[in-house]
Symmetry: C2
Subunit: 585 residues, 2 copies
Amino acid sequence: MIDYKKIQNIMQDIKNTQEIDLRIDNAKIADVYRGIFFEGSVCVHQGVIVGFSQMKAKKVIDANNAYLVPNFFDGHVHIESSMLSPEKFAELVIPFGTGTVIADPHEIANVKGLEGIRFMIESAKQSLLDVKFMLPSCVPALPFEDAGANLFAVDLAELIDNENVYGLGEMMNVPGVLMQDSSVIEKLALARDKQKMIDGHSPNLDGANLDMYVLAGVRTDHECTTVAEAMDRIQRGMYVMLREGSAAHDLVNLLPVVNEHTIKNCLLCTDDKQCADILKRGHINDSVRLAIAHGIAPIDAIKMATINVAEAYGLKDKGAIAPGKEASFMLLKDFENCMPYAVYINGELVAENGKYIAKHNDEKSILLEELTKSMQESMQTILPQELILSIPSKKARVIRVLPHSLLTKCEVMDIATDEQGNFVFEQNKGMLKLAVVERHKKTGKVGLGLLHFEYGLQNGAIATTIAHDSHNIVVAGDNDADILFALQEIEKMGGGIVMVSHGNVLAKLPLNIGGLMSSAEPQEVANALQKLYTLAKDHYKIWEKADAFMTLSFLALPVIPDLKLTPQGLFDITKFSFVDIDATK
Amino acid sequence: MIDYKKIQNIMQDIKNTQEIDLRIDNAKIADVYRGIFFEGSVCVHQGVIVGFSQMKAKKVIDANNAYLVPNFFDGHVHIESSMLSPEKFAELVIPFGTGTVIADPHEIANVKGLEGIRFMIESAKQSLLDVKFMLPSCVPALPFEDAGANLFAVDLAELIDNENVYGLGEMMNVPGVLMQDSSVIEKLALARDKQKMIDGHSPNLDGANLDMYVLAGVRTDHECTTVAEAMDRIQRGMYVMLREGSAAHDLVNLLPVVNEHTIKNCLLCTDDKQCADILKRGHINDSVRLAIAHGIAPIDAIKMATINVAEAYGLKDKGAIAPGKEASFMLLKDFENCMPYAVYINGELVAENGKYIAKHNDEKSILLEELTKSMQESMQTILPQELILSIPSKKARVIRVLPHSLLTKCEVMDIATDEQGNFVFEQNKGMLKLAVVERHKKTGKVGLGLLHFEYGLQNGAIATTIAHDSHNIVVAGDNDADILFALQEIEKMGGGIVMVSHGNVLAKLPLNIGGLMSSAEPQEVANALQKLYTLAKDHYKIWEKADAFMTLSFLALPVIPDLKLTPQGLFDITKFSFVDIDATK
């Protein structure tokens, strides 16, 4: 909240000089309290809105009847999914009118624990974006995972009092809550005792189980996909996020939830949206645009993107155009495009016509350097013999990916082997070898599996260090040489995405921050990503039925049914156990 | 907020025993989030709502299709105006479905400062009513007043961290805020620095001045009387209280303010409502009834009396029927009467058919005993010669009360005197002598004035220790003997209201707590009050054009125009100075 000393200074200054810094005239001001746009002026002094009257101002701007709207909030976002550092993410989203995000640094926490979270907080502080952090509640996703960290309540306690920490991130361990797993309850208690927010994640939960989940203190959910799910949660006082991200498009489906009563509990969020998508479609302004295009009144769409989030998270000096609120707002001409031509943060013009114009921060982050170095040091070099896949029975459990889904099936297939009983590519045309290589603690663990030929890669390999949730290295290829070469490239880059063929790098995206994010410019990262996608789709015809890289990224997440690969081998969640690749075992 | 240990216990208990304390079936449950009533069951365990499913319960109650509604909140109340101790006030209002009040102990603070506030907090704690306190911001009302205390920020700081203190009470000193009077700003800063609420009081304020008042941190106003005033405040993010008290009836006038957008910022309050009124008409349930009778949808009226107040004041576990909320709700058959037949607090039935049935607290309050004793000791005995009113010029400034208003006019009248130039009753038939006697610090100050004969008392005197805001003794009479007798009776009672005639007490109401409140039963106090009113109205024909006692009570409040009487003499606010009763001076 704005320090009261600052408010006092502002009041004194105005009293003494009878002059303010900035006045914007002829604006159609979004009034989220009365639910209207009214024509008038907004007065700003020292970065704070001070009123609506015709005060004498050092600078007067004519809004020419444009809309003046509070900057938008993203109610729940994993900044890591943008593939950008918080600083660069800020520069990307601010021109679209985003001013505040509620971020759960769950991905980097799986890689580097508290050190990763601290980096995110520090990096965000270097930016003009106001990032409020929720401490990741489920690191790792499952107790046996080879994540880079294991965060208990006692660890989170180190950061809970941080001024930018607003609570506990999405509590995905629903069974843990319902069974009152002590390590889960301790985390909830930590947030509750500090009177902080607890975010949820509870797809399909209903009835008495949903009651218990809410009783336990969980207050939000961004995983609703049906109106009934959303209404069940609002009935219980939860805030429901209408998500519109790169992969999940729930917003339009959920709009029937919004009415004069429920709207207060409806917030907008992206959850996961990568930088190329943001560059192309926008950020929360795109959600606002979409909602309006589907019949929501502009002021209601704005409320879901501003004051509703501010009030849900207790951000009292944000989310509205009113005296005492931060002077953080945008000017825009229409809601068909919903693209601001000017964005102000704390009274300063920071973006114009989609371009970030505020000063970049040029300080080199020590935390970033340390993080990058330690990531490289923790990667292990894989030897050819470690890729040998022994299946003497010639019957293998093969992972079959499903179109447009993160789900997989376990398929038992006859496969060809050499005399030693080892898988050979030549007689299994089109089938890919999949490897998940532990990259956090040099444990030497490498899990091997087979990927059904539908995935469709030929004459090469692709590898990525984005591999939910533990973010080990996932690599798939149709020959061992390229698989090894891709792994070497990953090691060289200190993490990222790479596509290789016959010993050549076709395309790559270095992700120097924990193998998840880049400190490069958003456009540069988006271009590299675009090149990877174009190659994968047009040239290699990989997995046309969905996103090739995202599919790969989720092949190592054992909490999603049915068969996934971890550094410890294949895991079948339907059995909640590891299974041998040899189907006879 | 409910301690998380308690939540854990509840969850464990349910998991272990699969049984809850209480289930209420067949209720039409008020859902303030979805804006509907839905038919179903409410499950309660250890005083907390745990869900809506058909859990096995130790006790099952059939609501027979009655409405189940969260207990109501009074958004702003001076409990002192009920003339009851907080404990007795609780027993009075709970049967009407009031469960939580935001109280400003402004009156007792003017009498006994922090000691008075501490008594209120302690007394409230003995009750089942949840009383959240706002620290009085303007004690005394004007710097020169003869109040019992002078509270600066440093004094309020002693109580700001009290668990039941939620912020700073109504900031009436609007000029002080606008001029940035340091003693005012320090109080605002105290509340803001603790992230606590600041209540307002700003009739007629608008434009740039209202902007500054909001910028200074004031967040509520209960003094709106017009739709425009209310809308001006909502536009700036303030919460507007729709007041319905004993004297002020603003609710119906303000209902046009309420729409789907503004409703969130509309709260119900009584401000000042005395016990006889509450007994006769109800408490906040009467406001809800009235709003519904004037066209507000029942669920919207309920929202203004429940969740809206809870959210405005950050009371996260209240104001709704949902898992994790306090099991504090009422059952009622219709909204025409809006009278609950059963009221539950923390899962216990505490009132039935208008009767308080929970156990009374029988502990004697040491704070109360001390308070009563010290009040008696601080009163001064007035001698006959102190009532002599010298007006040699025979031209006097006379107070003329205005019908149905707290305003007065200063009227210069020719009056008759004796040879010494002293006022005599005989030749000024119908004109009354008014005295305001300092009662807090034995300063010996007695202010004398004349009251225009319209007030209408004959053959006697009335006196009261309720005299806003300093609560000295105000007495009016048509002969000095009865004036002195009334003062003696007040001293004997340790404060209260008395009506005397020819040396006899006609009726009296002892107010043993600071001369403002009684520790007697509500019905007893209401009866005594009723007797006073009946006598005043029917027998003595005093001031038929408004409330005789309230008119008297406000004759000593110098902040209300034009002419008032203080222990230091007549004060004319239009001149902002004391004036002599002799109109030639």
